[in-house]
């Protein structure tokens, strides 16, 4: 069995029935056709995405915005899947629904002057509210400028909008554009590299990109093998709890090495 096929099956098993058989097919880029066609394609994608994992916080419109946005921040390319394919929208949804989105364990009392950059987060909005306002405002900007919402723009236009938000050229009404953009970028990177248990890093796409093995093995011996690349099939938390991966007596992963023929 090929490596990627086996990994796919493993992670599909780990996610239960969450990944539909058509998941791989969806990752093809949308054809650059006319608006109608693009819209239909978008509706299909949005529906398929919703089937993958029902969103707890995001509306369909917000999910479509994020799918489009994160596919620019970490694009799918010859190196492998991007943030969209890795389920980052689903990750962000779960984060916004949970403690992160509601500012649990953070200080939320006013007053709320904007402060200096050195004073950090001073918004009266929770991250969940920042996304809600930011996406709405960004879509309004897109409709005003291009006549369409962000997800329906061409790749080039989307890129232009994201650069405008990042560089502060576009101003948003309810949140500072760069504040929203930086949050989105940070969460995208988190979702791409966090353990798949949080809904992102699907099929360990982020870990495979960089060669990170996930849950650690005992490295006491290997740490002294200087200059020898350590190439292991990454192991996630649920690989262990579901007994897909082997562990030693302390619960560390026993990694299957990628060049280890015995493991194939």
């Amino acid at each position: 069995m090929s490596e990627s096929r086996r990994n796919f099956l493993k992670s599909a098993a780990a996610l239960g029935a969450a990944i539909p058989a058509g998941a791989a097919a969806q990752s093809k880029p949308a054809p650059q056709a006319d608006h109608e066609k693009q819209h239909a394609q978008h509706m299909r994608t949005a529906t398929a995405a919703a089937q993958q994992r029902p969103y707890m916080f995001l509306s369909q419109t917000e999910a479509a915005f994020l799918d489009a946005a994160v596919s620019h921040l970490i694009p799918k390319d010859e190196l492998g899947p991007g943030a969209k394919e890795a389920g980052v929208t689903s990750f962000i949804d779960q984060q916004l629904f949970g403690g992160y989105g509601t500012m649990a364990r953070k200080y939320t009392q006013g007053p709320w002057p904007e402060g200096t950059p050195q004073q950090g987060y001073q918004s009266p909005l929770t991250p969940a509210a920042v996304y809600r306002a930011g996406i709405r405002d960004a879509n309004n900007h897109c409709r005003k400028t291009y006549g369409k919402s962000f997800d329906a723009l061409s790749r080039a236009q989307q890129d232009e909008v994201l650069k405008g938000l990042d560089g502060g050229k576009i101003e948003l009404e309810q949140v500072r554009a760069q504040f929203f953009f930086n949050m989105l970028l940070a969460n995208t990177v988190e979702g791409f590299f966090a353990d798949p248990v949080y809904g992102g890093n699907r099929d360990k796409a982020g870990w495979k990109l960089v060669g990170f093995p996930g849950v650690a093995a005992v490295y006491t011996t290997f740490i002294e093998k200087h200059g020898v690349p350590y190439r292991a099939q990454p192991v996630s938390i649920s690989d262990i709890t579901q007994k897909i991966a082997q562990v030693d007596e302390h619960g560390h992963a026993i990694h299957v090495m990628l060049d280890d023929k015995a493991g194939v």
């Binding site: 921040l73 970490i74 694009p75 390319d77 190196l79 991007g82 992160y100 500012m103 649990a104 364990r105 953070k106 200080y107 939320t108 009392q109 007053p111 002057p113 402060g115 200096t116 950059p117 050195q118 004073q119 950090g120 987060y121 001073q122 994201l162 990042d166 970028l185 995208t188 990177v189 988190e190 590299f193 966090a194 353990d195 248990v197 949080y198 982020g206 870990w207 990109l209 960089v210 060669g211 990170f212 849950v215 650690a216 005992v218 490295y219 006491t220 290997f222 740490i223 002294e224 200087h226 020898v228 690349p229 350590y230 938390i237 262990i240 562990v247 302390h250 619960g251 560390h252 992963a253």
Partner: protein, 586 residues
């Protein structure tokens, strides 16, 4: 109405690194000791069990083991005249909460400050004259010398099982250790950690340039170790989920792995968790503490009478509780008078990221304290004539666990996102490492703590307000150190590097270190110190404030080795002098 409890001999406010050691030693003497901890109970098993212990998002990004800021935080501004605003989320530093304190999720780099550090002012004046110190610099001598502290460093290192190689045994320089350290009476209890690829490359380059590299002293055990309390720690497996994480192997020295197993068995000790101390209560003439008030998880308020109150609640709350309770005169920067809140200092960290084309490092392997260091540019280990600054710090390359959310370096000039960014991340994740320049920080008149006029905690009490920025001395030092680090990176064969000395205003946003110091500093003169050389309050002698709050300024080292030594130093004074005759220790 507060519920009044039965009196005890000793109460520790906080059950972290300092609080557990003091409680253990005093309970062993037969004293009734109560430990009050605002956070919950936690232990190696089940709290740090595999596989959940290896979750970067949960621990490193969402700070599960650290302070709950919804109840209490501090406010921050760069300068007097600015409006301080609350630290709403974690950033620059990560204070602990819960049994074990920050020592549950620390790295474990465990130093002794240099003999010079304890006499910063007088030795600077003697060697360079007054011109070397900025006019508003309030750095001072500690009122205690390295030689006085040596036995206490030793006790702490044997308790915590520190792994390293001595560089100076009783005055004789040892090969393979740090030749600049103060003389130690014996070897470390455990051998140093293994050398990673990065450590080997860095060490070789540094040696070629004439420096003296050595493995960092570490609290990640290199072998199973049984400490003098009879508690056994496991051996580190270099798992790389260490800083910000609890250790699944019980191999990182912490209160859980060194002290609590015996302390919890002592019938003289009682631990109360989810117990937030809000005040030290004083008698009517304000010369004596009669106990503390705390609020529990059901909102009940208790008064715990005690003969001896030990503030072991980390720098921030040691200072805040003194201010809230009226222990010592609050510092006034305009008049440069008063002591509580004075001399807050921090760490002046810079870094160099070195990128390579032809090497791989497997930096996801490692341990919190696994690093190769040089100490040539620390303290007064080099001539500062004409440099325009004092102090320095260690320069080292760590292999402390390259988890990819936080570690995915790209060469400067790379876009922040998109295909090019992704290519650079993929290319360099395993072909880059960081060199840290861990600079000291002097104290200044305008850097201090007081109580915030606006923002309050969940109990309605004012938050601590931090006013802080770096000064010319720190910028120059960081620039000097970071240039040296870049030279080492170049000698190591880096194809490209990002060089980041500390520049610009201090920001509370990016993580720098949980090495906050001062605010209740020690010294020989009650006009410039809140506690005496035994960390005893000058004003209320049955209160001791233990921790890095006592550092008059910060050295170029991680603080905890010295915090441990001060703890044993204070403890000895309490045992041999104070308990025999309670009152001010001269």
């Amino acid at each position: 109405m507060a519920i009044k409890l039965k009196p005890v001999d000793v109460v520790t406010v906080g059950v972290g690194l300092t609080g557990t050691i003091l409680a253990k030693e005093l309970a062993d003497l037969g004293l009734k000791v109560v430990g009050l901890e605002r956070g919950g109970w936690r232990d190696t098993h089940p709290d740090f069990d595999m596989p959940h212990a290896h979750d970067e998002l949960r621990y490193a990004r969402r700070h599960e083991l650290m302070q709950d800021l919804s109840r209490e935080t501090l406010t921050f501004r760069n300068a007097i005249g600015d409006t301080a605003l609350p630290m709403r989320q974690m950033g620059s530093f990560l204070p602990g909460e819960g049994v074990g304190g920050a020592a549950v999720h620390w790295n474990g780099v465990t130093w002794r400050f240099l003999p010079w550090d304890f006499e910063t002012r007088s030795r600077t004046l003697a060697r360079y004259g007054a011109g070397q110190l900025a006019e508003d610099c309030t750095s001072q001598d500690w009122g205690v010398t390295y030689d006085e502290l040596e036995p206490h460093f030793d006790r702490f290192e044997y308790l915590y099982g520190i792994c390293g190689k001595a560089g100076n045994l009783k005055g004789r320089v040892q090969l393979g250790g740090n030749p600049f350290e103060g003389p130690r009476s014996r070897e470390y209890p455990n051998p140093p950690m293994k050398t990673s690829h990065v450590g080997a490359i860095y060490g070789k380059a540094a040696r070629e340039l004439g420096y003296h590299p050595f493995p960092a002293p570490s609290a990640n055990m290199t072998r199973p170790y049984t400490n003098p309390y009879g508690v056994t720690l496991g051996a580190c497996v270099y798992c790389g989920y260490c800083e910000r994480f609890g250790c699944e192997m019980g191999a990182k020295a912490s209160p859980q792995t060194t002290v609590l197993p015996v302390l919890m068995k002592n019938p003289n000790y009682e631990l109360r968790t989810l117990a937030n101390v809000i005040k030290v209560n004083l008698d009517s003439d304000r010369k004596r503490a009669i106990g503390v008030t705390y609020v529990d998880s059901r909102g009940r308020e208790f008064e715990q009478p005690a003969d001896l109150v030990l503030l072991t609640s980390y720098v921030f709350n040691n200072v805040r509780l003194m201010l809230l309770s009226g222990i010592g005169k609050p510092y006034d920067p305009a008049a440069n008078a008063g002591v509580v809140g004075r001399n807050y200092a921090y760490q002046t960290n810079g870094n160099v990221t070195a990128f390579f084309e032809d090497k791989v490092f497997n930096q996801f392997m490692g341990a919190g304290a696994l690093s190769m260091m040089i100490d040539d540019i620390d303290g007064d280990n080099f001539d500062h004539t004409g440099l325009g600054f004092i102090g320095g710090g260690w320069i080292g390359a760590a292999s402390s666990g390259a988890r990819p959310i936080d570690f995915h370096p790209v060469p400067s000039g790379t876009p922040r996102w998109g295909s090019e960014w992704k290519k650079a991340v993929s290319r360099y994740y395993n072909r880059a490492f960081g060199i840290t320049t861990h600079g000291a920080c002097q104290s200044y008149r305008g850097n201090y703590f007081d109580l915030d006029p606006t923002y309050r905690d969940a109990y309605g009490l004012p938050l601590l307000r931090m006013t802080f920025d770096f000064r010319q001395n720190e910028y120059r030092m960081s620039d000097y150190m970071t240039k040296k680090a870049a030279e080492i990176a170049k000698a190591a064969g880096a194809s490209r590097m990002n060089v980041n000395p500390r520049t610009g205003k201090y920001s509370i946003v990016p993580y720098q270190s949980t090495h906050n110091t001062g605010g209740a500093v020690m010294g020989a003169d009650p006009k410039t110190s809140a506690v005496n050389k035994y960390l005893q309050s000058w004003d209320v002698p049955n209160v001791f404030a233990i921790g890095a709050s006592a550092f008059p300024q910060n050295g170029g080292y991680n603080p905890t080795g010295t915090v441990g030594a001060l703890t044993f130093h204070a403890l000895e004074a309490i045992k041999t002098k104070y308990l025999k005759q309670p009152g001010p220790l001269a």
